[in-house]
C-alpha cells in the first residue's frame, strides 16, 4: 500500500467524525509531511549500497539458483536463495540500536509478503530504477533486463496468474483494484503469520534442532517428510550462519567505536553468538533472537510478546542483571527496529489475554511494554491489549492511561466476547479459540496454529451499483456479475436485494477458490522454513506450512462498503417503496447524474435512516448485509478446501481507494468518494450520540467473521477529566458485546484541523458549557473561543 500519505489522505482513511482511524492525523503528522506528501525515508545502509554491480551479480546468482532448482527441489532452492539473499538484506547496526537486524528487501527476493506479492517476488519499479542507474556497467544493465524478463514470467505471482481456471479469470479479470472499478479482486501475499516465538525462546536453535533430529531418527515419515526435516536442519544452520555473520560485523564495528558505545555493541555481539546455537538466557538475547528470526522469516507480526519475553524479563530483574529502565530502553530499541521495517498495516505486538502459560510474568512484562509504547509514541508497532474479566484490572487501567495521552495504542480486544465468537466462526473448541490473535488491520488467526491471509478484496457498494444497473459496470460499461436474465424486471425491493446477494455470491465464490489456489501455488513455491519451523504442526507432520503443515489452513476476505450498502438499502426502501417519493429508475438516474440537478433528492437520501443511530430501520440492513456475506463466505471454506474462510471488516485505506472507484450510492454518497470505514457509520451520519452509536455497532453478528474494527474518538478532556464515565461507557459497550475498540483522544491540533476541514470532523462533540454541540456546527468565533479555553 502507498505509504506516501498526506495528512489529508489519512483523514480520508479515517472516515469522519466521532469515528476516526487506528492512527490519528495529529499522530501521523509526525511522519506525513505537510506539502509534498512524502515521508522522509531514513536510509539504512546495506552491503551493496555503494556497489550496484555487486547487487546485480548477486541477484543474478539468486535468479540462476531459482532457474536451476525451484522446480526440481524447492526445499534446497529456498536454502540456497536465502544464502544469497541475507547479505543483501541485512543492514548496519545504527547508532543507538541495541539489537542487530535492520533489513530491506532486495528488488528480487523470497518472502511470504513483499511488494504486494508472496513467494519469489519481483519489485519491478526498483528493478527499472536499477536498470537506469548511471553507475551500472553495461553488462550488469543487460543482466537486469534479462532478470526482469525472467521474473515477469516466473515470479510466484505471475505463475499463479497463469493457472487461473477460466471462470476465475473471467470473474476476477483484473488485479488493479486500486485503479479499476472492481467488485472483487485477488491479492497474492501470504500475510498475517504469527510465529511461535515462545517455542523459539524456550528451545532456541539447539532445541529446535533436537526436535527435528528426533523426528529423523524415529525412522517414520515418507521420503518427502525426511527431505523436509533434513532441509529444516540446513535452514537452522543458515540461521546460525546469519547470527554469526552479523556478530562478526558488529565485532569489526567495535574497533571503530568510542568507549561509551562499546558496551552496547559487545552485548549485541555476545547475544548473537549465543543465540546462534543456544536458547536465550536473557531478555536481550531473546529479543535479538526473535527479531532476527522475524526478519529471516518475513513475518511482520510479533505474536504474544508478553508470554515469550515475560519469564526472561522477570529473571533478569530478579537476578538484578537489568533494571526496569534497562528493559524499557531495550524495548524502545525493539520498537524502533519494528518501525524500521515500515510495515504500517501490520506490526502487531500483543499483550494480555487468556491462555498465556505464565500470566504473572507476562503481566509484568506487559506493563513495561505499555510504558514503552507511551514513551516511544511511534506509528508502529500496533500495540494491542487483550483483556477479560479475570485479568489483573490494572493492565486495562494502564492502557486507558496511555490512550488518554493521545496515543492510539493499545488497541483493546475483549476476550470475553471474542473467544466465543472465534469458536463459532472458526469452528474450533475453546482450547484453540483462546489463542486467537489479531494481525494486520484486525484479522483474527489462531496463534501459530492457523494462517488466514486476506487474499481478496470485495467492494459491496460497487456490487450494489452493478446490481442497480442490472449487470453493467457504470464506470466502464462492461457487463459482469450474474447473467442478465437473473435480474428479470427487478421491480420489488426483494428483487433488488436478491440480485445484490446473488452478485455478492458470484464474486465471493471465485475469491474463495482463489485463496485456496494461492496456497496451492505461491504457498507451495517454497517451504518457508522460518515460518514452518514455528507453526503447529509442521515439524511433526514433516510438511511445509502452506503445504499440509499448518494445523488450520484458513483464509480471509476483506469486505468494504458494508455500511454504505446497508444505508443505501435503507434509502431505497424508504424513498422508493415506503414513501414512494421516487421510482427505482428515477433513483438510478439521479445516481448516474451524481446528484447534479437533484440536490433535493440527494438530501432525502442523506436524510434517510442511517446505521449508527440505534435506529433499527437502518441497522437491520447492516445486520442483514453482514450476515449474508459472512455466512456465505464461511460456508465456502469447505467447498474450496480450507479449514476456514471468513470475512474481515477492517481498517486501512482500501475504503478510500475503492471508494474512489465507486459510483454514487443511494445513501447520498457522491460518486468516487471514500466509503465508510470498517464497522463505522458513514462519517457525520451518526447523529444520536455516542451511546446510540455504540448500541448500533454491537448489532452485527460477530460470531461469523474473523474481525471487524471499531474506531472511537474522544476529546482528551472528556476522556481524562471524566475518566469514570468514559470507563463506564466502555464497560457497558464491552458488556453489551463490544469486541474491540480503537480509541483516539483528540487534542487541540485535531480541533484546529476540524476548523480547516469540517467535512472530516462532522461528529466531533464538544462540551461548550451549558450545552454540548457538534464542533463543526458552531460559528467560527465560538470555535476559536473553545479552542482558546477548554482543550489542552
Amino acid at each position: 500500500m502507498d505509504k506516501r500519505q498526506t495528512r489529508r489522505d489519512f483523514l480520508k482513511v479515517l472516515g469522519n467524525g466521532v469515528i476516526v482511524s487506528a492512527v490519528l492525523p495529529s499522530f501521523l503528522a509526525s511522519c506525513a509531511s505537510k506539502g509534498a506528501g512524502t515521508v522522509e525515508v531514513h536510509r539504512m545502509v546495506n552491503l551493496y549500497d555503494d556497489d550496484k554491480d555487486y547487487l546485480v551479480s548477486q541477484l543474478k546468482r539468486f535468479t540462476q539458483v531459482h532457474q536451476q532448482m525451484q522446480k526440481s527441489d524447492r526445499l534446497k532452492c529456498e536454502i540456497e536463495c536465502m544464502k544469497i539473499q541475507y547479505p543483501l538484506m541485512f543492514c548496519e547496526v545504527e547508532p543507538g540500536d541495541l539489537f542487530a537486524g535492520r533489513a530491506k528487501c532486495p528488488p528480487v527476493c523470497l518472502s511470504p509478503q513483499a511488494f504486494d506479492s508472496g513467494g519469489y517476488c519481483l519489485n519491478s519499479g526498483a528493478m527499472s530504477k536499477l536498470e537506469s542507474d548511471p553507475d551500472l556497467s553495461a553488462e550488469a544493465r543487460a543482466d537486469v533486463r534479462e532478470m526482469m524478463e525472467y521474473w515477469s514470467q516466473e515470479s510466484s505471482r505471475a505463475r499463479m496468474r497463469k493457472v487461473f481456471p477460466p471462470k476465475m479469470a473471467e470473474v476476477l479479470y483484473s488485479d488493479n483494484w486500486t485503479s479499476d472499478p472492481l467488485c472483487g479482486a485477488p491479492l497474492y501475499r501470504l500475510s498475517g503469520t504469527q510465529c511461535d516465538y515462545d517455542k523459539l525462546c524456550r528451545l532456541g536453535i539447539g532445541g529446535l534442532r533436537k526436535e527435528i533430529e528426533s523426528c529423523l531418527s524415529s525412522g517414520k515419515g515418507t521420503p518427502d517428510n525426511v527431505a523436509f526435516w533434513e532441509s529444516s536442519l540446513m535452514a537452522l544452520d543458515l540461521f546460525s550462519e546469519v547470527a554469526l555473520w552479523y556478530a562478526g560485523h558488529v565485532a569489526e564495528m567495535l574497533e571503530r567505536t568510542d568507549a561509551s558505545r562499546k558496551a552496547e555493541l559487545k552485548k549485541i555481539e555476545a547475544s548473537l553468538r549465543n543465540i546462534a546455537v543456544n536458547k536465550p538466557d536473557t531478555l536481550h538475547e531473546a529479543i535479538q533472537l526473535v527479531f532476527l528470526w522475524a526478519v529471516m522469516s518475513g513475518s511482520i507480526n510479533y505474536g504474544r510478546m508478553d508470554e515469550y519475553l515475560g519469564d526472561l524479563y522477570v529473571n533478569d530483574i530478579a537476578a538484578k542483571r537489568i533494571t526496569e529502565e534497562d528493559a524499557i530502553a531495550m524495548l524502545s530499541s525493539l520498537w524502533t527496529l519494528i518501525d524500521s521495517r515500515k510495515t504500517t498495516w501490520d506490526a502487531r505486538v500483543i499483550v494480555g489475554g487468556k491462555g498465556r502459560r505464565n500470566e504473572s510474568a507476562a503481566d509484568k512484562f506487559a506493563f513495561i511494554a505499555m510504558e514503552t509504547t507511551k514513551r516511544v509514541r511511534g506509528v508502529i508497532p500496533q500495540f494491542t491489549l487483550r483483556f477479560n474479566s479475570e485479568q489483573d484490572p490494572r493492565l486495562y487501567e494502564a492502557a486507558l492511561d496511555v490512550i488518554g495521552t493521545g496515543n492510539p495504542y493499545p488497541m483493546l480486544y475483549n476476550d470475553d466476547v471474542i473467544i466465543p465468537a472465534v469458536m463459532n466462526a472458526f469452528r474450533v473448541p475453546y482450547e484453540e479459540a483462546v489463542n486467537y490473535l489479531p494481525f494486520g488491520c484486525g484479522e483474527y488467526i489462531l496463534y501459530h496454529r492457523s494462517v488466514g491471509t486476506p487474499s481478496g478484496v470485495i467492494n459491496l457498494a460497487q456490487i450494489l451499483s452493478l446490481t442497480l444497473h442490472k449487470g453493467i459496470n457504470f464506470t466502464t460499461g462492461r457487463r459482469e456479475g450474474i447473467p442478465a436474465e437473473r435480474y428479470g424486471d427487478m421491480q420489488t425491493f426483494d428483487d433488488v436485494m436478491r440480485c445484490y446477494k446473488e452478485n455478492v455470491e458470484h464474486y465471493v465464490e471465485q475469491l474463495a477458490y482463489h485463496e485456496k489456489l494461492e496456497y496451492d501455488t505461491i504457498g507451495c513455491e517454497a517451504p518457508y522454513f522460518y515460518l514452518s519451523l514455528l507453526f503447529d504442526d509442521c515439524i511433526s507432520r514433516g510438511k511445509p506450512v502452506f503445504d499440509g503443515g499448518v494445523r488450520y489452513l484458513g483464509g480471509t476476505l476483506e469486505a468494504y462498503g458494508n455500511t454504505n450498502t446497508a444505508d443505501s438499502f435503507a434509502a431505497i426502501r424508504k424513498l422508493v417503496y415506503d414513501e414512494k417519493k421516487l421510482t427505482l429508475d428515477q433513483m438510478v438516474k439521479i445516481l448516474d447524474a451524481d446528484f447534479e440537478g437533484y440536490e433535493k433528492e440527494r438530501m432525502w437520501m442523506l436524510d434517510a435512516p442511517k446505521y449508527g443511530n440505534d435506529d433499527d430501520y437502518a441497522d437491520t440492513f447492516r445486520v442483514e448485509i453482514d450476515s449474508h456475506i459472512c455466512n456465505f463466505t464461511r460456508d465456502m471454506a469447505q467447498k474450496a478446501g480450507m479449514h476456514s474462510y471468513l470475512i474481515v471488516i477492517i481498517n486501512n485505506n482500501a475504503n478510500v481507494t475503492m471508494g474512489e472507484q465507486t459510483p454514487a450510492t443511494p445513501d447520498g454518497r457522491k460518486a468516487y468518494t471514500f466509503l465508510a470505514n470498517a464497522n463505522a457509520s458513514t462519517g457525520g451520519a451518526d447523529k444520536n450520540g455516542i451511546t446510540a452509536y455504540l448500541n448500533s455497532i454491537v448489532k452485527p453478528d460477530i460470531t461469523i467473521h474473523a474481525g471487524a474494527v471499531q474506531n472511537m474518538a474522544f476529546s482528551k478532556e472528556t476522556f481524562n477529566t471524566y475518566r469514570d464515565k468514559t470507563k463506564a461507557l466502555l464497560s457497558a459497550y464491552f458488556g453489551n458485546g463490544g469486541a474491540q475498540a480503537m480509541i483516539n483522544c483528540l487534542g487541540r491540533g485535531d480541533l484546529q484541523a476540524a476548523m480547516e476541514h469540517p467535512e472530516d470532523y462532522q461528529n466531533l462533540i464538544v462540551r461548550v458549557g451549558g450545552f454540548s454541540a457538534k464542533f463543526v456546527d458552531l460559528p467560527r468565533t465560538t470555535q476559536l473561543e473553545i479552542l482558546s479555553r477548554t482543550l489542552y
Binding site: A692, A728, N736, R767, G769
Partner: protein, 288 residues
C-alpha cells in the same frame, strides 16, 4: 456529563416562564416547536418560499429574510432546503416514545450509576407530562434528576419529591428586584420551593450562575453560602460563570440577545468567586 451522576440521557422539555437575559438555550424557552435559520448556510434559492403557506420567507436585496413570527413550524420548508439552513427545534412525542428511547441505554446507566435527567426550559412548565415521565422512569427503576429553575408551586414539588432522586436547582439572584429585572419574575417562590425541598428529604444540587455586574456581589455570595450552611439537603453547590456561547442561537431563532457584547467569564474569575463564597464558611462549592 454535567447533568447528574453517571452516564445520562437528558430530555429537554420545551417551555420556560423565566427569560434570563443570559440564557444559553433560547430554543427551550417557548413551548412550541420553533424554526431556526442558519443564515451563513443559505444561498437564497427560494425553494422554501415556494412551499410555505404563511409567507415566512421573503427575499430582500438578494438575501433571505425569515419572519419567525409568522411560522407555525409545519416543517414543509425543511424538506426542500438542500443547504440545511433551516431546522425545527422541538418535536411532539409521547411519554412512551421518550421512555423507550431512554431505555436503549440502560446498560450504560447501570455501569455508571447514571439514569435520566429532565431538563428544559423548566420541565415543570409541562408539569403533567413531567410527572408522567417520572412515574414511568421510576417504574423502570431508573435514577432520575430534574433540572429546575424553581418555578411552580410547593404542591407541585411535593408531588415530585418521591419521583426524583436529585434536584438540580438554579439559584440565580438574591435581590428580588434584580431577579425580576433579569428574569422577568420574582424569586420569592423560587426560595420558598427550595426551602421546601431542603426540609422534606430531597437531594439537592444548587447551581449558581454568576454574571459580572449582575450578581457578582458580596450579598449574593453570602446568601449562597448561607443556603449551603443552613441546609444539609444541599449536597453540593456548582458555581459557573456567564458565557456567550449560546448567542448565535438567538440570531438563528430570530430572537434578541439581551447580553450582546458581554464577554464570557475567564475560568480564573470563577475560581476567585468560589474562594470568596467559601470565605462565608461553606465548603460544598465546586466549579460547575
Amino acid at each position: 456529563m454535567h447533568d447528574g451522576p453517571g452516564i445520562r440521557t437528558v430530555v429537554f422539555l420545551k417551555g420556560c416562564l423565566f427569560r434570563c437575559v443570559w440564557c444559553c438555550n433560547p430554543e427551550s424557552q417557548s413551548r412550541q416547536p420553533q424554526l431556526a435559520f442558519v443564515e451563513e448556510d443559505c444561498v437564497n434559492c427560494g425553494e422554501c418560499s415556494k412551499v410555505c403557506d404563511r409567507n415566512v420567507f421573503t427575499s430582500f436585496f438578494g438575501r433571505l429574510k425569515v419572519r419567525h413570527d409568522r411560522c407555525d413550524a409545519c416543517g414543509k420548508c425543511i424538506d426542500v432546503c438542500t443547504r440545511k439552513a433551516l431546522k425545527i427545534y422541538g418535536q411532539e412525542v409521547t411519554s412512551d416514545e421518550i421512555i423507550a428511547e431512554v431505555l436503549k441505554d440502560r446498560s450504560y446507566y447501570e455501569q455508571s450509576g447514571g439514569g435520566v435527567t429532565f431538563s428544559g426550559g423548566d420541565p415543570l412548565h409541562q408539569f403533567g407530562f413531567l410527572t408522567e415521565l417520572l412515574e414511568k422512569s421510576k417504574a423502570e427503576g431508573l435514577d432520575t434528576c430534574v433540572e429546575s429553575e424553581g418555578l411552580g408551586s410547593v404542591r407541585q414539588f411535593e408531588e415530585l419529591l418521591p419521583l426524583v432522586d436529585t434536584f438540580y436547582y438554579d439559584y440565580k439572584m438574591t435581590d428580588p428586584a434584580v431577579h425580576r429585572r433579569y428574569t422577568g419574575h420574582d424569586n420569592e417562590g423560587v426560595i420558598e420551593n427550595l426551602k421546601y425541598l431542603c426540609t422534606h428529604g430531597a437531594d439537592v444540587v444548587l447551581r449558581c450562575i454568576i454574571v459580572p455586574g449582575v450578581n457578582d456581589n458580596a450579598a449574593h455570595f453570602k446568601a449562597i453560602a448561607g443556603l449551603g450552611n443552613e441546609f444539609k439537603a444541599i449536597r453540593r453547590i456548582e458555581v459557573f460563570g456567564y458565557h456567550d456561547f449560546g448567542a448565535f442561537k438567538y440570531r438563528r431563532l430570530g430572537m434578541k440577545y439581551g447580553m450582546k457584547g458581554k464577554r464570557s467569564v475567564e475560568p480564573a474569575q470563577v475560581d476567585e468567586w468560589i474562594s470568596e463564597i467559601r470565605k462565608y464558611g461553606c465548603d460544598k462549592i465546586i466549579k460547575g
